[in-house]
């Protein structure tokens, strides 16, 4: 079933950040990654809730790493993309690319 997923802009950005980070994708790293590539300083809370929301939507899965003493014995929650998210990203890119095609001239005028 290829039910298309409605992804918000920020959700999209977060998924791409997780993809870039690979094995190292946890909330703080995601936030830093977004800042590094876009210059946008997003709030910590919005990263947490977006990751959570994406997990509920079935785009991400998460695992708890081993607790470390530096963090007071608390584990990090790492995220990884589910196939569904990769499909959705690809689909999104195709849609956008298709819609962008031939628009350079108009954009120049506007």
């Amino acid at each position: 079933m290829t039910e298309s997923l409605a992804l918000g802009e920020f959700e999209h950005v977060v998924l791409l950040a997780v993809l870039r980070l690979g094995d190292a994708a946890y909330a703080v790293a995601v936030r830093d990654e977004i800042a590094r590539h876009t210059g946008r300083r997003v709030s910590r809370g919005s990263v947490y809730v977006t990751l959570d929301r994406l997990e509920t939507k079935g785009c991400l899965r998460s695992r708890l790493a081993d607790p470390t003493p530096e963090r007071g014995g608390r584990a990090k929650r790492y995220y990884a993309l589910r196939p569904r998210a990769i499909e959705a990203l690809k689909e999104n890119r195709r849609t956008l690319a298709a819609m962008w095609r031939g628009l350079d001239e108009q954009l120049g005028r506007v």
């Binding site: 709030s43 910590r44 809370g45 947490y48 809730v49 607790p67 003493p69 963090r71 608390r74």
Partner: protein, 892 residues
């Protein structure tokens, strides 16, 4: 502490975040905290983490609300089994979303609440510390103070004569211990630089009465009350630390007090407290003559009730002794009776009523804040009518809507309370700086702080205010929503009539409370102005004072005392810029009080009332230096010295009271009753205010210090200097003059008379300032409330106004429509407020001076001021209404 977050963060997150997120988020915050602490001071790092935590909570709460909203609204009833706490969290989340959407509303409501709660908390912390906290003694409620009071004197006053104290102590059965206390200053020498220290002379039962034991050493023994045995001293904990290096071996050491050697027998516990904050405590020596002395009233007396003995029983016990004594000594003890009062009453004195007034005033401000926020919430409730109506229509129960709205109120109040506590913290600091010097003698003043007890009060206040301002809007909104039509505009002119009525009633209440506060503030202001206009009876400007106490050991001989002061005055008068100088035992406005009874020659047996007056020893230039006029007779001259007939001056108050319709000059009086030594009155001088500007002048007797009556008192004198220069220019010279005469002689600080008078009115000034500040807050809040209600009214009736104008109503008529509404609310509030103010004014009448509590000018002035504020508040909404464009209004 690596790997951890500031205390409390985990608990906050656990409440708000879904449980599976708590640990990883805490871990991330711990990382962040560690990295912040490597670059920032600890408190900033912690503050940063706390801000992050609150932002996280807000985002998660909003996310939760967003997801909840995706559920159909019918869920209100579909989930009746949702636990209360879950429902509460959801209500909270919805509330947070609603509030965060309306920033302007939030800002106004929060500021209003924060001001109300903050001011109340700050004042409460002050009043609580002084009036309600237990005194720092074990079982302090059993401690009482005893007075010799005259029937005519309403206030607590009346020091106790030594012989009466001795008889009370022996005769009473209601007390486990009783002690006489005399407050003084002593010169400590031989330990570092010579210093004048506040001292207490106490009878041996003193520490038993306070239920304290020394940290080291022992308390006084009964025989140390006898002269010759009494040269032992207890040190305060502070003095022991500052001057004796906290050395336990201090017991047995010898120190010099007024140049007399005293053996240290003990160190007082640090919890020891007395209004004058004494550093040394010595036995009160009573010789055989003292034990017979009933004419000189000099002691404060405290006692501790036996367990099970009530205040009434103790009073009855003392009354019986008093009756016996007045029978036995009709001349000395016939006119006063022993009175028993709680010891706090004597410590707090007349400050108590003014604190209660302050608390009342700040309570009014809090009520006005609540009313204001309630009107704001109601305006908002009406705007949400449609939303609530839909929820009701879809089956949400009525109480569910009320609960939602009350939860929002609670959220608002909690935020307001948090800001309020911040305000209060700042307010308490400001208050502590502004406290008059005299308030330092109040119990608890050193302990004013925002501690757990005060914060708990603030929390209760927050909960209370949320109910106060939330209840009416919640119920009216829920009720109106039932009737609300679900059409797009909600245009009916009749909906919300109930809400409008409640809102108007709230504004009327605000106006009434403001009027009451304003009248009180104005009465206090008028009193203060009248008080400052009172002449003290002398010219206080450019008058400097300095206290010198000569030690008995060095100046035991009266001739030496006279020699010292003559030499000192000569030096001072020759200083540049000095126009005159004199000395006196008791300075006006210095807070000292001593009275002595005397007999008038030829009136034995005729006057059953022994007469009392303030005796003052002085040099011949004292009164002329002050500028006190001689009314009749002659002044004192240097020839009135030892060996010449004893003479005295009296003031007009004494002449009026004791020689009514007669000439007092030429009469003779005596202070010693057994073997009279007669003193002739040679002149009458003008009255001066002794203790306070608002008290009548007491009868006073001025005695030349060169003559030996009361010679022992002549050692402690205040030097008074009239100068054409500033304190800074003359002050150091005064101190040098004393040092040049006697290198070891300590002197008190040089102070100027306006400063002393200012100190005497400082409590009134503070009271006035605070009440005025509250009155201003009240009127600003009321104006804002009026503005808000009228503005809302105009917005709500735009459609109706449009129709009226389309049908030909002029702008003027529309203007009148709005102003009439404002006028009705103002007049109703004014009427209620003026009636309430009459009642308030009666309560504060004890704090007023020279003005009637019903002064018509004050009431008229407040009315005019309030009407002006109301007009100002109504102007903008009225103008807006008159500019309504009928076309736009009807189309809209």
């Amino acid at each position: 502490m690596t790997g951890d977050v500031p205390r409390g963060v985990a608990r906050v997150l656990a409440v708000v975040l879904p449980s599976e997120h708590v640990d990883p988020v805490l871990g991330d915050l711990a990382d962040e905290y560690a990295s912040r602490r490597s670059t920032q001071p600890g408190w900033r790092a912690a503050a940063g983490i706390w801000i992050e935590t609150f932002r996280l909570c807000a985002v998660f709460a909003l996310e939760r609300a967003r997801r909840d909203r995706e559920l159909p609204p019918i869920a209100d009833t579909a989930e009746p089994r949702a636990s209360l706490s879950e429902a509460f969290v959801r209500d909270l989340a919805v509330g947070a979303r609603m509030l965060s959407r309306q920033r302007a509303f939030m800002a106004v409501a929060l500021l209003t609440l924060a001001l109300g709660i903050g001011a109340s908390t700050a004042i409460f912390s002050f009043v609580d510390a002084v009036l309600w906290r237990p005194l720092p003694y074990p079982a302090a409620e059993d401690m009482v103070a005893l007075f010799e009071q005259r029937p005519r004197e309403g206030r607590l006053s009346g020091l106790v004569a030594p012989a009466d104290f001795v008889d009370w102590r022996e005769g009473s059965r209601a007390f486990t211990s009783m002690a006489a206390v005399s407050e003084s200053m002593l010169n400590l020498t031989g330990v570092g630089e010579g210093q004048r220290l506040p001292a207490l002379s106490v009878s041996p039962g003193f520490l038993d009465t306070l239920a304290l034991v020394p940290d080291f050493g022992r308390t006084f023994r009964a025989e140390e009350e006898l002269p010759g045995n009494s040269h032992v001293v207890l040190l305060s904990n502070g003095l022991w630390r500052s001057h004796f290096g906290a050395d336990p071996a201090v017991i047995g050491r010898r120190v010099l007090l007024n140049a007399v050697p005293y053996d240290v027998v003990g160190v007082l516990p640090s919890s020891f407290w007395w209004p004058t904050k004494p550093d040394v405590v010595v036995p009160l020596a009573l010789d055989a003559a003292d034990r017979r002395l009933r004419a000189l009233h000099a002691f404060k007396v405290i006692a501790r009730r036996k367990p099970g003995v009530s205040l009434a029983q103790a009073s009855a016990d003392m009354a019986a002794i008093g009756a016996r004594l007045s029978e036995q000594y009709p001349v000395e003890d016939g006119a006063h009776f022993p009175r028993v009062a709680s010891v706090r009453e004597t410590f707090v004195g007349d400050v108590g009523p003014s604190l209660v007034v302050l608390l009342g005033a700040v309570g009014f401000v809090l009520l006005i804040s609540c009313a204001n926020v309630a009107t704001l919430l109601m305006a908002r409730g009406t705007a949400r009518r449609k939303e609530l109506a839909i929820r009701l229509a879809l089956g949400a129960p009525h109480r569910r809507i009320v609960r939602q709205l009350m939860t929002e109120s609670l959220l608002l109040a909690s935020l307001g309370g948090a800001c309020g506590v911040a305000f209060a913290w700042w307010g308490v600091e400001a208050l502590r700086l502004a406290l008059p010097v005299r308030y330092n003698a109040l119990p608890g003043v050193a302990m004013i702080a925002l501690d757990a007890r005060i914060l708990l009060t603030a929390l209760l206040m927050t909960l209370g205010t949320s109910v106060l301002f939330g209840l009416a809007p919640a119920f009216t909104a829920a009720r109106d929503a039932v009737a609300a039509p679900m059409n797009e505009e909600g245009r009916s002119g009749t909906t919300g009539i109930h809400a409008n009525r409640v809102r108007s009633a709230l504004v009327v209440l605000e106006v009434a409370l403001s009027v009451m506060l304003l009248v009180t503030a104005m009465l206090l202001l008028a009193s203060f102005k009248k008080l400052l206009d009172v002449s003290p009876g002398f010219e206080p400007e450019r008058l400097l004072t300095m206290r010198v106490t000569l030690p008995q050991a060095k100046y035991g001989d009266h001739a030496r005392i006279v020699q010292f002061y003559d030499a000192l005055l000569e030096r001072v008068r020759s200083m540049p810029g000095v126009d005159g100088a004199g000395i006196v035992t008791v300075l006006p406005f210095a807070g000292a009080d001593s009275r002595a009874g005397f007999k008038i020659e030829g009136r034995d047996g005729q006057s059953p009332v022994p007469v009392r007056a303030n005796p003052r020893l002085m040099s011949e230039n004292y009164l002329s230096t002050l500028g006190v006029p001689l009314v009749s007779g002659r002044a004192i001259s240097p020839r009135d010295a030892e060996g010449t007939p004893a003479v005295a001056l009296i003031n007009q108050a004494a002449a009026r009271r004791f020689w009514p319709g007669q000439d007092a000059v030429g009469s003779r009086i005596t202070f010693s009753f057994d073997t009279p030594s007669w003193i002739e009155i040679v002149g009458i001088v003008g009255d001066i205010k002794d203790a306070a500007l608002d008290a009548d002048s007491d009868p006073a007797v001025y005695l030349p210090y060169r003559q030996t009556a009361f010679a022992s008192q002549a050692r402690a004198m205040s030097v008074v200097v009239r100068t054409s220069r500033s304190l800074a220019a003359v002050g150091p010279g005064l101190r040098t003059a004393v040092r040049e005469l006697d290198r070891d002689q300590p002197v008190g600080p040089v102070r100027d008379m306006p400063e002393l008078i200012g100190e005497s009115v400082a409590p009134r000034r503070l009271n006035l300032l605070l009440v005025s500040a509250f009155a201003i807050m009240a009127i600003v809040l009321t104006g804002a409330g009026l503005y808000g209600v009228l503005g809302y009214l105009v917005a709500q009736r735009t459609h109706e106004i449009g129709i009226r104008m389309a049908l030909g109503a002029s702008r003027g008529r529309v203007l009148v429509l709005v102003l009439r509404h404002a006028g009705a609310m103002t007049v109703a509030g004014l009427g209620l407020g003026l009636a309430g103010a009459l009642a308030c004014a009666r309560l504060v009448s004890g704090l007023l001076f020279g003005i009637s509590p019903t002064d018509p000018a004050v009431y008229a002035g407040v009315s005019v001021l309030l009407i002006a504020v109301a007009l100002l508040a109504a102007a903008a909404p009225a103008r807006r209404a008159s500019r309504v464009d009928p076309l736009t209004a009807l189309r809209g």
